[in-house]
């Protein structure tokens, strides 16, 4: 028996029929498509962001730490630790970080701030931004008033309407604002959100009286080695971590461990975001599935009619399969495009 199968290729006809049949329903189909696009877009955005940040961490791992090695302790450096630092060699810098209130005599305001007393060329890697430029790494700056210099977080200056050349008091010592701090290498813009950062020279810290017995401060020592962290330095670190570091309460951070820790934190965040995205996609999928089911139910009459006119069950099924596949394909493509575009748009929005 010969059955109709010639002429218009079946696929062409089903695609054409799917297109014609979608008339009047295209707003609903567009809505389905946008749901799919939103879900896929979220997942792609998270995945792309993860890849991008992974790449950035890999490329800028040194800038993130600002040095090849960091030793940190809650106590002032012991003579043994200073000896160990001498053994390690390389370019060295120190930083004492503590939190305190800063007083601004011009307007009588005071603010909770983060004081960083630094000495040496830290950060060794990465670019910090100050106004005027080049104030970090901290160096001796001649101030107009002769007071010791302080570099103050730009947001704090704006908040209190202060300008370069005005005075700030930390503890018992007054400083002249030598410049504003715009960005610190390896730190996010939010680094000074809760406690604005103020950089002073290490030699001026004693004069403030802020660092006495019982003061909560973090002492850091930074190292830069000509050829990075080599075998000699690693073996010295491995030897010290068993006794000296434990006795002195020292934590050490290398470029690798910083990258690893960052990745771990990021992976946790992205796993969480992926889970949210996946759950949203599943729930969205169930929603879209339900909506498609309703849509198909509304089409049952047309399907029955087509069957009545002689269309096979497979061909009838394909007409609606094409519609759903097209929604899925377009939704996924648009979603992927949105997800990828977000990578370029986010920096525009967040500067």
């Amino acid at each position: 028996m010969e059955f109709h199968s010639k002429g218009l290729p079946a696929t062409f006809w089903t695609v054409s029929m799917a297109w014609r049949d979608s008339r009047g329903q295209r707003k609903i189909l567009l809505l389905f498509m946008l749901c799919v696009a939103a879900g896929i877009g979220a997942l792609v955005a998270v995945a792309s962001l993860r890849d991008n940040l992974d790449g950035v961490i890999e490329l800028q791992s040194r800038s993130l730490l600002g040095a090849d090695l960091e030793l940190a302790t809650r106590q002032p450096f012991t003579p043994e630790l200073l000896n160990f630092a001498q053994q390690l060699g390389g370019e060295q810098a120190t930083e004492v970080r503590l939190r305190s209130m800063a007083f601004f005599p011009q307007n009588g305001e005071s603010r909770f701030v983060q004081v960083r007393a630094v000495e040496g060329g830290f950060p060794f890697y990465g670019e910090s931004e100050t106004e005027p430029a080049g104030l970090l790494p901290m160096r001796d700056i001649q101030t107009r008033s002769g007071l010791p210099p302080a570099i103050v977080e730009n947001s704090l200056l704006q908040q209190l309407a202060l300008e370069t050349g005005e005075t700030i008091r930390l503890g018992t010592l007054e400083f002249e604002i030598a410049g504003s701090l715009l960005r610190v290498a390896g730190e996010s813009e939010l680094g000074g959100f809760f406690a604005p950062r103020i950089y002073i020279r290490a030699k001026d810290l004693a004069g403030t009286g802020l660092l006495t017995t019982g003061s909560i401060a973090r002492h850091r020592m930074y190292f830069q080695f000509t050829a990075g962290l080599g075998e000699r330095e690693r073996s010295l670190l491995n030897a010290a971590r068993e006794d000296l570091f434990i006795e002195s309460g020292v934590e050490f951070t290398t470029v690798e461990s910083r990258s690893r820790n960052l990745r771990r934190v990021m992976n946790n965040i992205f796993d969480f975001l992926n889970l949210i995205g996946f759950v949203a996609l599943v729930l969205g999928g169930i929603g879209v599935g339900g909506a498609v089911q309703v849509y198909i139910k509304e089409k049952l009459n047309t399907m029955a009619l087509l069957r009545c006119l002689g269309t096979s069950a497979t061909t009838t099924f394909r007409i609606y399969l094409w519609q759903i596949v097209a929604i899925g394909f377009l939704g996924s493509t648009i979603g992927s495009a949105i997800g990828v575009s977000v990578q370029f748009l986010l920096p525009v929005f967040f500067g």
Binding site: H4, L309, G310
Partner: protein, 231 residues
């Protein structure tokens, strides 16, 4: 000596039965219905609601499967064919007109009429054929209108054009004027019988309209699933 070969019936129904089991009840919808219809003949099926007219029409067209008995349509024993094969027989040999028009709402009048030709792969000249038929049913200026933009009578004329565009051997019409007033019904009936005369299309009508039933050559009167009178 040569013998004149008798033409085969276009539709042959033999001992057709249709039962349904449901809700603990056994329902006999059709009880042993038999008849033959020769090419070009016209038949009306009449009877009260629930007498099995539409079920019989569906079985004749291969839309449903009988519980027992045979339906031979255009030489094909419908009982031996798969659903897809039955669909193919319908596409080639059958035209349908429904009481509620059953046009595809997302297609224009022209596209609705073209569907049977597209299904047969007769895309060459399909548009011209469909336009010509729509012109014949008086809708040449409505070819790009959607069903919702047409009146009931116009929709039924489009449905009739769709049913006839591929020149089927047999046209099944289930209460084709049931939803139309008498003024609108008359041209539809005239069109159906006109096509029967011109194309030799066999016509099977289910109707409550006694006048329409009298217009056909044959008539089956049904009650409770049985043919109680035929002429």
């Amino acid at each position: 000596m040569t013998t004149q070969q008798q033409p085969a019936p276009i539709l042959s129904v033999h001992d057709l039965r249709k039962d349904y089991d449901g809700g603990g009840h056994h329902l006999q919808i059709l009880r042993s219905v038999s008849f033959d219809l020769m090419p070009g003949e016209t038949l009306s099926i009449v009877g009260p609601s629930g007498s099995g007219k539409t079920t019989l029409l569906g079985l004749c067209a291969g839309l449903d499967e009988p519980s027992s008995g045979t339906v031979t349509l255009a030489g094909h024993d419908m009982g031996t064919l798969s659903e897809t094969e039955r669909g193919s027989v319908r596409a080639r040999h059958v035209g349908f007109v429904f009481q509620s028009f059953q046009l595809i709402g997302s297609l224009t009048a022209l596209e609705n009429v073209m569907i049977p030709l597209e299904l047969l792969g007769q895309n060459k000249g399909a548009r011209e054929k469909a336009v010509e038929l729509l012109r014949r049913v008086g809708l040449e200026d409505r070819i790009h209108h959607y069903p919702l933009q047409l009146s009931g009578g116009e929709q039924q004329r489009v449905a009739l054009a769709r049913a006839c565009v591929h020149q089927p051997a047999i046209l099944f019409a289930d209460e084709p004027t049931g939803n139309l007033d008498s003024a609108t019904s008359a041209p539809i009936v005239e069109l159906m019988f006109g096509l029967n005369r011109e194309m030799g299309t066999t016509l099977v009508l289910v109707t409550h309209d006694a006048n329409l039933a009298r217009s056909t050559q044959k008539c089956l009167k049904m009650q409770d699933g049985s043919v109680i009178e035929s002429h």
